[in-house]
């Protein structure tokens, strides 16, 4: 059986940025997942959520869990990442001042996600960006 949760994330909604990841953490804790795995998942989820808030017009996060795997798919509606290779470099950032004032936009988001996920895929066009992350459940 697959359990799925969906969260909407809005552009520059800093007040609620992190609420979806907090809900994800709460659920994963309730089902008794390994705390180290939860930590890796929510680091990715929070970074992805902040990226949607900071860089996109808005989007959504879909978490799905079955017996073997946890998947997180984060999509937004643009404007997209012009150069993904550059965006993957630690320290490279195009974040506005509003994000930096909140402790984000230091160019660590995508590298942090790649480091903490078992699988990491990203695709982007001016119509939007999609990030797919997955973790195996041992």
């Amino acid at each position: 059986m697959t359990v799925t949760f969906e969260f909407n994330v809005y552009h520059e909604d800093y007040h609620n940025a992190g609420v979806a990841s907090s809900e994800i953490k709460k659920y994963l804790t309730q089902i008794g997942l390994n705390p180290q795995l939860i930590r890796r998942i929510v680091i990715c989820s929070y970074e992805a959520e902040m990226n949607v808030v900071i860089h996109s017009y808005g989007g959504k996060m879909v978490l799905s869990i079955d017996d073997n795997e946890i998947k997180l798919e984060v999509t937004d509606t643009g404007p997209g990442i012009p150069d993904i290779e550059l965006a993957m470099q630690e320290g490279y950032s195009t974040a506005p001042l509003s994000a930096r004032e909140r402790g984000f936009g230091a160019g660590m988001g995508l590298p942090n996600m790649k480091k903490n996920a078992d699988t990491f895929e990203i695709a982007s066009s001016p119509q939007g960006t999609i990030v797919r992350l997955a973790w195996g459940i041992l």
Binding site: A17, P35, I43, E47, G103, G109
Partner: protein
């Protein structure tokens, strides 16, 4: 080191307190939350920061950190204190700078995190 001792050393004000008997051995001082997410590998670590907003509390929550020291005496809103209570975070406010808080706690035996 326990919360009361930490707070006294840095002339802090304890805004919310949970687990007064817990011993802390390490700290990480940073205003960049992505760096905290990248480098903090010990849930028993204290986060020392000048960043007073929801994101510093959310970052602590994701990392299972339960103690934040806010430096440079920035005003803390009721919303932040309520969010701290909701997530069982100990929040300490001090007028001391980040550099000085780090130095005082280091001198008192709090260790840096070993990263990478």
């Amino acid at each position: 080191m326990k919360i009361r001792e930490i707070s006294d050393l840095i002339h802090g004000e304890i805004l919310t307190q949970f687990n007064e008997e817990k011993d802390y051995f390490t700290a990480f001082a940073c205003d960049l939350m992505s760096d905290c997410l990248a480098f903090i590998n010990d849930p028993n670590c204290i986060l020392i920061t000048g960043l007073v907003n929801e994101q510093s509390l959310r970052t602590a929550e994701m990392l299972d950190i339960d103690c934040i020291i806010f430096v440079r005496g920035k005003p803390i809103s009721k919303d932040i204190i309520e969010l701290g209570k909701k997530h069982n975070l100990t929040l300490i406010l001090t007028k001391t700078t980040l550099f000085e808080v780090s130095g005082i706690l280091y001198q008192a035996g709090i260790k840096p995190l070993q990263i990478r």
